[in-house]
């Protein structure tokens, strides 16, 4: 091998791509699912399927507010999430270190709904941003991987520069496996270039304080904590409904997302979905008499840059069509990275075949490429199979996710160390096919009262996606068999 630019860039792309790719496939897959975190959470709370669609009443808000104050007087750091088009219920939430969880309230009267305890789709958000190891080390690793992704993209563009436009659509899936995977990697990589660069860059900027801790700009991720003793205030408290009406006069009708409770104040925050720039504009009221005490708006120009980055990355303001576009791009992006991992292994299999190092690389690649989707499906299965009244249910559900992932890793390790790499991929693809194709049946069986009301809702969408991925895995394992 000669020390020329193309070879150097090839080395950079291959090694940064592979080492970073092991993290990036997890982050991208987690991010893909986190795009619909609210919808997944609702799927995991089947008790809410029977709830009729209803607007929130003032009585419900006041009742919810009283419950929040009662919890805060007991020292719990909770806030109130208001109903939205994506999640039409009231929620009293607290941060448990990984997700915002808490009781669900009826938007008609504010009474507690008998919903099961779950972290829902927020598990995938946590996995995406911090590999479930936030807020320091996990964020730092994903941040470094994000920078690595940009490095891999730039080096990949340099390698492929001459053929970038002519081979934009050259995909030969029926060619030799190496050629077909390379084509898939290139076509998806080039077509998704704007999306991947945008997501990697905005994601890296959002978590930049982790990489540059000496630059004080604050960081969104904060560990869970209990309120200070000074925050505990005692009633009587003014009703929330009139305050919400005033806040809506300021920010617009239906644009309030959540209510925070402070020392003698109640703050109504603008919803993330209200605007492209995700800012924390809020109106503050006196908790005792409901008087407006202040409004904070992030001004135009530079202060909104951080909000714009978050808006572009999290896309909470987006229409369903845009969110589906992001979803498709993210799924293909994950597959493109997985294809890159496969290409790296194919290349090194020729020289290092049979060595422990390669078997380890094969194991890790399989565990993130197929093991993670398998664990995600296992998580959804666990959500419906675990008893609703189980103690520490959210932890048990998360435990199911990591247990399935661990089993997938051990399976991959045993098979790859035994030299049976192809059967290992096939077996995990089969497992995904079984869990994916079986999920709609599980949904119908475990949600018998409401499952036969066929309508375009979150249940149908999650079932259809699981079925789609199950069928894709079924096709994939047949391709593996044929390529033998």
């Amino acid at each position: 091998m000669r020390d020329i630019l193309r070879n150097r860039m090839g080395w950079l792309h291959a090694w940064v791509g592979f080492v970073g790719g092991l993290v990036l496939v997890v982050a991208f897959t987690g991010g893909t699912l986190a795009l619909f975190d609210t919808e997944i959470t609702r799927w995991m709370e089947p008790e809410l399927a029977a709830l009729p669609e209803a607007a929130m009443t003032g009585e419900a808000l006041d009742h919810a507010g009283a419950q929040v104050w009662a919890l805060r007087e007991k020292g719990q750091n909770v806030f109130l999430n208001l109903p939205s088009a994506r999640d039409p219920v009231l929620r009293i939430l607290h941060y448990d270190g990984h997700a915002f969880v808490g009781p669900v309230l009826d938007p008609r009267d504010g009474t507690a709904l008998n919903s099961r305890e779950t972290r829902g789709g927020q598990l995938f958000f946590d996995l995406h941003q911090s590999l479930y190891r936030g807020p320091v080390w996990g964020n730092l690793v994903t941040e470094a991987a994000g920078i690595g992704l940009i490095v891999a993209v730039i080096s990949g563009v340099i390698i492929h520069f001459r053929n970038l436009v002519p081979n934009l659509l050259l995909f030969r899936p029926f060619a030799a496996p190496g050629r077909a995977w390379l084509d898939a990697h290139l076509v998806a990589g080039v077509l998704l270039l704007p999306f991947i660069i945008m997501m990697a860059y905005t994601g890296a900027v959002i978590h930049a304080p982790r990489l540059f801790p000496m630059i004080g700009a604050g960081h969104a991720a904060r560990p869970a904590g209990r309120p200070d003793a000074g925050m505990r205030v005692v009633g009587p408290y003014a009703p929330l409904a009139p305050m919400l009406a005033q806040a809506e006069d300021i920010f617009g009708r239906g644009r309030i997302g959540f209510v925070m409770f402070g020392t003698g104040t109640v703050s109504f925050y603008r919803a993330d979905a209200a605007d492209f720039a995700m800012t924390r504009d809020h109106a503050d009221f006196s908790a005792g008499d409901g008087r407006l005490v202040g409004v904070e708006r992030i001004g135009r120009g530079m202060p909104r840059l951080g909000g714009a980055m978050r808006g572009l990355h999290f896309i909470r303001w987006g229409t369903p069509a845009l969110r589906w576009l992001y979803f498709v791009c993210s799924v293909v992006g994950s597959m493109m990275m997985a294809a890159g991992l496969g290409l790296f292994l194919m290349k090194h299999r020729r020289v290092h075949g049979g060595t422990f190092r390669l078997a380890l690389a094969e194991t890790l690649a399989l565990a993130v490429t197929l093991g993670l989707p398998l664990a995600s499906l296992g998580y959804l299965w666990g959500s419906r199979l675990l008893p609703p009244e189980l103690v520490h249910r959210a932890d048990r559900e998360t435990g199911v996710f990591f247990l399935v992932w661990l089993v997938a890793l051990l399976h991959a390790g045993m098979r790859c160390l035994g030299g049976a790499v192809r059967p290992a991929w096939r077996e995990q693809a089969c497992a995904i096919a079984v869990l994916g194709c079986g999920l709609p049946i599980l949904d119908v069986v475990s949600r018998a009262e409401t499952a036969f009301r066929l309508r375009a809702d979150v249940y149908l969408a999650v079932d259809a996606c699981a079925l789609g991925f199950g069928l894709l895995a079924l096709w994939g394992q047949r391709v593996i068999v044929r390529a033998r």
């Binding site: 091998m1 000669r2 020390d3 020329i4 630019l5 150097r8 860039m9 080395w11 950079l12 090694w15 940064v16 920078i147 940009i150 490095v151 730039i154 080096s155 340099i158 860059y201 890296a204 900027v205 930049a208 304080p209 990489l211 540059f212 000496m214 630059i215 004080g216 700009a217 530079m302 202060p303 840059l305 951080g306 980055m309």
Partner: protein, 93 residues
């Protein structure tokens, strides 16, 4: 950009050289980014923290790839140290 091929250079040697170059490049890029922070915050008014972070994140991968693409092999990572010193000085001053 093309350098003369050295037949004596084993593949493992090249791999180690590139690894050294990459590690040196990353360290240099990080120091460059910190230098950029200092420059951006140093002048009148100073730039907003988020803008400085955005610039640093944009510069970091470009510098890593740029340094990795630089020709020359004998100097190795020592070149990067020499390049990084002015930025380090800016950061500390």
């Amino acid at each position: 950009m093309t350098l003369k091929s050295n037949r004596k250079t084993a593949k493992g040697g090249l791999w180690k050289r590139w690894l050294g170059r990459f590690v040196g490049g990353v360290a240099c890029a990080y120091v460059c980014a910190l230098g950029l922070f200092s420059l951006a915050s140093g002048h009148a008014g100073g730039l907003d923290a988020i803008l400085r972070q955005s610039l640093a994140i944009a510069v970091l991968p470009l510098v890593i790839v740029g340094l990795f693409a630089l020709p020359g092999r004998r100097s190795g990572p020592s070149v990067f140290v020499a390049l990084a010193v002015p930025f380090l000085h800016l950061t500390l001053s």
